[in-house]
Symmetry: C2
Subunit: 355 residues, 2 copies
């Protein structure tokens, strides 16, 4: 007989793969836990999700995901504290953003209980997959895609919402050097840049490959019209520290409203760090690098939390960031991960216990 | 034993679905023929394609197509003439554009013989599926998507190239009214708008839904920076006739290099129609509509060939196009489809016999 957790039906896998996993040497998003949440939209509504064994997905070749890129996703992490309690970080914000993304991609919005109760049931079933090693976590990937069929370029009539989880180590390793982009762009005014839409990521791969060939790891995206303002760093939001002020660009229809981004802003302000949310011009960053007032740059996102940038290239010139002993990046990363993993008080109410 | 056509291995379907199809009442891209071409990229190279029975595709939930929108496609048509000979229209141009799209999406480029010989073998096997009714054709959908696995936001290591075909009737029915977009955009400078990338289409669905709610069928896309220039019509290129001059915008990294578009330009010039390829401002179109010099607007693309526009909306005002007896749209559509279906000479060398 199948179990029920939080009103969610559970169909358990007959065997576990967990004994094949080396938890001391986890890559990012490479091995997947025993179960997944599956929820189908059909006949005009979302049907109750189920926790089922991790299994392949079978689709008609005319399924619209293959042709028209109608998909959205989220990225989250689950942590275990010393007492084996399980924690999420601001999960309702991921749920809300998923629906914001869905709306822009003409995907039907999902009921909150299907997302939250489904996620909690999945984590309950696969809680042994949450790593406890320092720097590791269970990466959670909720996603929705068009599973309905037909070559007409219009929204699908069927969708799948799935949550998979992957015990994961660090997203980046080694020093991160970035190239400020002068030609390619990530998003348009009035486009889908603010959404976590699949197509936003595919469009970044080729310019990023070109940057990698030049010796960088990521691209700093600039506005598509003038390339004079920095917008995002790879698939992360970007922060710049000039003297003692931490600066990040405002969200817009081109820039993702990152949950790590807004947490950093709130945390930095609470810690007395001067924060400015305003447009950042490339010339300002280059000038600050030249005169020594550019102290730090870092990317912020769920996968990597905070990724310090060691240097950047612009118009065939490389600029090195100083190597400081005490950085905002390391201070803020420790504060956030300590909150995420229940090592310190959480005055913001961000931590969410799964029970 | 399996047959070989043009070096392509053929695995035939055991039964045919063709007797279930009402060829007199075909929708667009809704029923699919008995076979498909399938070709896999793995271990750093494309492997020889095969014609196989039309069948579902099975993927891991972490396949990158679900998460990062890494996909491209093409649209083509096959026609049968009165002697049952099978014709394509400029197929090498589709092949070349597929690789141009792939490059921008960081998808490995495909060898020409895999595309052309595979397509010819597929059409040979499913030639009975090519409709002969006026206005119908076998719509051909070549597409490539990321089938490799993993949550890291980087290009996949495995891809599938598939060609499916669908006997199809008209793409649009009824009068086409369009809304000139003032807020949303289709593509960015330095983005992927020139590519037939899946994500370009998903991003159009929501603004198009809003236009449909207002009583229009499609959106006329404008540039994302100023919204002052018209760029595309739905998923088609756009042409405007002011007095006797036919005008279309220049291709760019935001505008698709449409095969129907460039055929219309060449054909119109050969027929002595004055043609201008230049930016078209919204104010110019509105002014021409007001003073009566705007004679025609139409969309151009493979699916609909030429779609006359009956009227457009802009800033809450509706403009009607005149109802002319002799239009460039109907003249050019007849010329192109007569060439496509081998009813007239083809001085351009566009027609391509499948044999």
């Amino acid at each position: 007989m199948n179990a029920i957790i939080n009103d969610i039906e559970i169909i358990k896998a007959k065997t576990t793969k967990i004994n094949d996993v080396d938890f001391d040497n986890l890559k990012f998003g490479h091995v997947f836990s025993d179960h997944m949440l599956e929820c189908n939209y059909k006949d005009g509504k979302w049907h109750a999700p189920k926790v089922v064994p991790y299994h392949p997905i079978t689709l008609d070749p005319s399924a619209k995901i293959f042709h028209y890129g109608q998909s959205v996703f989220e990225g989250m992490k689950a942590y275990k504290d010393a007492d084996k309690n399980v924690w999420l970080f601001r999960p309702l914000d991921n749920f809300k953003r998923l629906n914001i993304s869905s709306k822009r991609l003409a995907i039907p919005e999902l009921p909150e209980n299907y997302f939250m109760d489904g996620l909690k049931a999945l984590l309950e079933v696969d809680k042994d997959w949450i790593p406890t090693n320092e720097g590791s976590s269970l990466y959670i990937r909720p996603f929705i895609f068009a599973s309905g069929n037909g070559f007409h370029a219009s929204p699908a009539d069927e969708y799948k919402f799935i949550i998979c989880t992957a015990p994961s180590g660090a997203y980046f390793s080694g020093e991160l050097r970035v190239l400020i982009e002068e030609k390619y762009s990530r998003s348009a005014n009035g486009g889908v840049g603010f959404a976590k839409a699949g197509g936003n990521y595919a469009g970044q791969f080729y310019p990023t490959q070109l940057a990698i060939e030049k010796g960088y790891q990521q691209v700093i995206w600039t506005d598509d019209n003038t390339h004079e303002y920095i917008e995002e760093a790879g698939a992360m939001n970007i922060f710049v520290r000039i003297n003692d002020t931490l600066i990040t660009g405002p969200t817009s229809d081109r820039i993702l409203d990152g949950i790590t981004r807004k947490s950093i802003i709130e945390l930095a302000k609470a810690e007395g760090i001067p924060v400015e949310v305003r447009k950042i011009s490339v010339s300002e960053v280059v000038e600050a690098a030249k005169n020594g007032s550019l102290k730090e740059m870092f990317g912020a996102g769920t996968a990597a939390v905070i990724s310090p940038i060691a240097g950047f290239g612009y118009k065939d010139v490389d600029y090195e960031l100083p190597k400081l002993d005490d950085t905002y990046a390391s201070f803020l990363k420790k504060r956030i991960t300590d909150i995420q993993t229940n090592k310190v008080e959480d005055p913001f109410g961000w931590r969410f216990e799964v029970k």
